[in-house]
Structure formats: C-alpha cells, structure tokens
C-alpha cells in the first residue's frame, strides 16, 4: 500500500514533503508519550489502557503508525538506491522493507484496537 504512493519515480517533492510531515508527527508523538509518562509516574495498567481507549489518542497513534511506515519507507528506499547497486538485491531489500512496514502497521492497528 505505502509502497505504491511513494518513490517510484513520481514526485520527489511529494516524498520530501511526506518525510517532513511524518517527522513532525513522530516528534510530536514522542513528546506526547514521554510527557504523559513523566506526568504519571505511578502509571497503572488501567490508566494506560484508558488512555488508548480515547478516540483522539487512537487517531494520533494511527497517524504515528502511518508516519513511521511512510518515513522509514522513503528513508530506506533512498538508502537502498544510494548503496545497493545490483537491481536484484535492491529489489529484494525494498520488498522486504515494504513487507515489514505493512506488517508493522497492521500489527499496530491490531494492538491499538485490541482486535
């Protein structure tokens, strides 16, 4: 899914923008989670799961997941086109990255929604 949107010779600007936007989402999410943990030093499991029951946290978390997928895909795609010259190995590496991103996202959704 993610692999279709980016980096297959479409727009470099689009990739670049996605990279910046996802970076912002990821840093905001990091700040949010660290901040929350600092504010709740004696965190209980109930509190923690209640946090992830709220809709906005779920939306935020999903955004974070998609951002991770996109960010790492664009980043690793760039790295692979820089350093892996044989097409076969590069394709294999990219396919592996794409698959991994996909697995993480689906898995993450499952965790979030407790499906």
């Amino acid at each position: 899914m993610v692999t279709q949107i980016t980096s297959f010779g479409r727009s470099g600007l689009y990739d670049w923008m996605m990279q910046r936007i996802s970076a912002v989402v990821l840093s905001l999410y990091t700040v949010f989670i660290i901040g929350y943990l600092l504010l709740h030093p004696d965190l209980t499991f109930d509190q923690w799961s209640a946090l992830f029951e709220t809709t906005w946290v779920r939306i935020f978390s999903l955004m974070m997941l998609l951002s991770i997928g996109m960010h790492s895909w664009i980043g690793l795609w760039s790295v692979s086109t820089d350093y892996i010259k044989p097409t076969g190995i590069r394709f294999f590496f990219q396919a592996l990255c794409g698959l991994l991103m996909f697995v993480y996202i689906v898995w993450g959704i499952q965790v979030l929604w407790g499906l």
């Binding site: 010779g9 479409r10 470099g12 600007l13 990739d15 923008m17 760039s78 820089d82 350093y83």
Partner: protein, 234 residues
Amino acid sequence: MLVSIYRYNPEVDDAPYMKDYQIDLPEGKDLMVLDVLNLLKAQDPSISYRRSCREGVCGSDGMNMSGKNGLACITTVSEAAKNGKLVLRPLPGLPVIRDLVVDMGQFYKQYEKIRPFLINDTPVPAIERLQSPEEREKLDGLYECILCACCSTACPSFWWNPDKFVGPSGLLQAYRFLADSRDTATQERLGELDDPFSVFRCHGIMNCVNVCPKGLNPTKAIGNIRTMLLQRAT
C-alpha cells in the same frame, strides 16, 4: 617538502598508486599548489594535470588536495599541506583518465540537463531584454560559477547517483535560470526537476559549500528550488 601524487596511466599501470616526491621549495614564499606541480613536472614530465588560467578563473585544475577539493592555482601550499605533507589526488567520484585528469563527462551531462541557457519565447525586442537592478541582483552568487566540479565531486549524493542527481553545481545553475527574470520557461524547468533524484537527493550535507573556491552556496540555491517546487505544487 614531501608531495604524494596519485599516479595512474591506464596504458601501462594495472592499478593506480601514490608516488612520493621530495622537493625543495623556495624560502619565505608561500607557493600555490599549482606552482609546486609545475616544479615537479620539470622533475618528472610524465605527471599529468589540467590547468590553464592559473588564477582561479577557468576552473580546469580542480583536484583533491590533502582531502579537500579546490583549485590548485589559488590554494597555497600552507593551506593544503597537512603535517608537512601535500597529498594530491584527482577529484573523487569521476573516472580517472590519467593521474590528476578526470573524465568530466558525467558532470557536464548533468549541466546540459538543466538547459543552461535563457529560454524566452516572447518576441525579441529591438535592442535588448531589460532587467531592473533588483532583478539582476538575484543572479549574484549564481552566475559566478566556473564549473570546476569541486562541489559536485565532494557531494556523496553525487558519488552514489551521478547519472540521476544533478549535483550542486548543476543545481546552482538550474536556479540561476529559474531566478532570471528574462527566462520564461520557469514552469517547464521546475517540472523537469520534480523527480525523487534530480533535486531531492540533496540531503543538505553542505560539502559543496565547504569546498567551492568561488565562495558560492549551492545548498542555498537548492533550498530555493525546493521552495519554488513547493509553491508550484500548492
């Protein structure tokens, strides 16, 4: 003074090697690296390198001096030598033709790609296309480039993808024509740059700025191109 020079003559050598030369430099005078090369050439006429203007104008003697790209004719020995030793290598990343002479084909191909000439399809005026002083000012820091390739061959992104990434020098020139009020092909030019490689392989490492013997700033020009692409897309 010890001078170590990259030697490679594909007709006789199997592989490149470094050759050391000992040379006495005149006292109380800071020679340019090119002067040292000229002295060495008297000693060993087989040493090959390019040079022409010997004053930093033609851009032909770009080379790697003790690890840093620059023009041999305007770099002093004291600047270039490290621990009393001067190490001269060809510009990195380009195929070596012989000794310090590299094949600039790839570099020029990228330059050609950005169409380094004014494109204007409006009727030709009787005398000339006028530009206000403010419009002209926008070209400062861009038109001075002498195409020495010191920047592009210092850029890792250019090393890895010299066929797809335009490189700092080409992009500086691309922006020079994007910024020119007399050029009417701005949109077309931007369209040609909007792929994942041409511009966006620049990761802002700024090696290019660090080495440009003309003190130009390709990274800034690349940033400006990006902004133009962004404005065009939104």
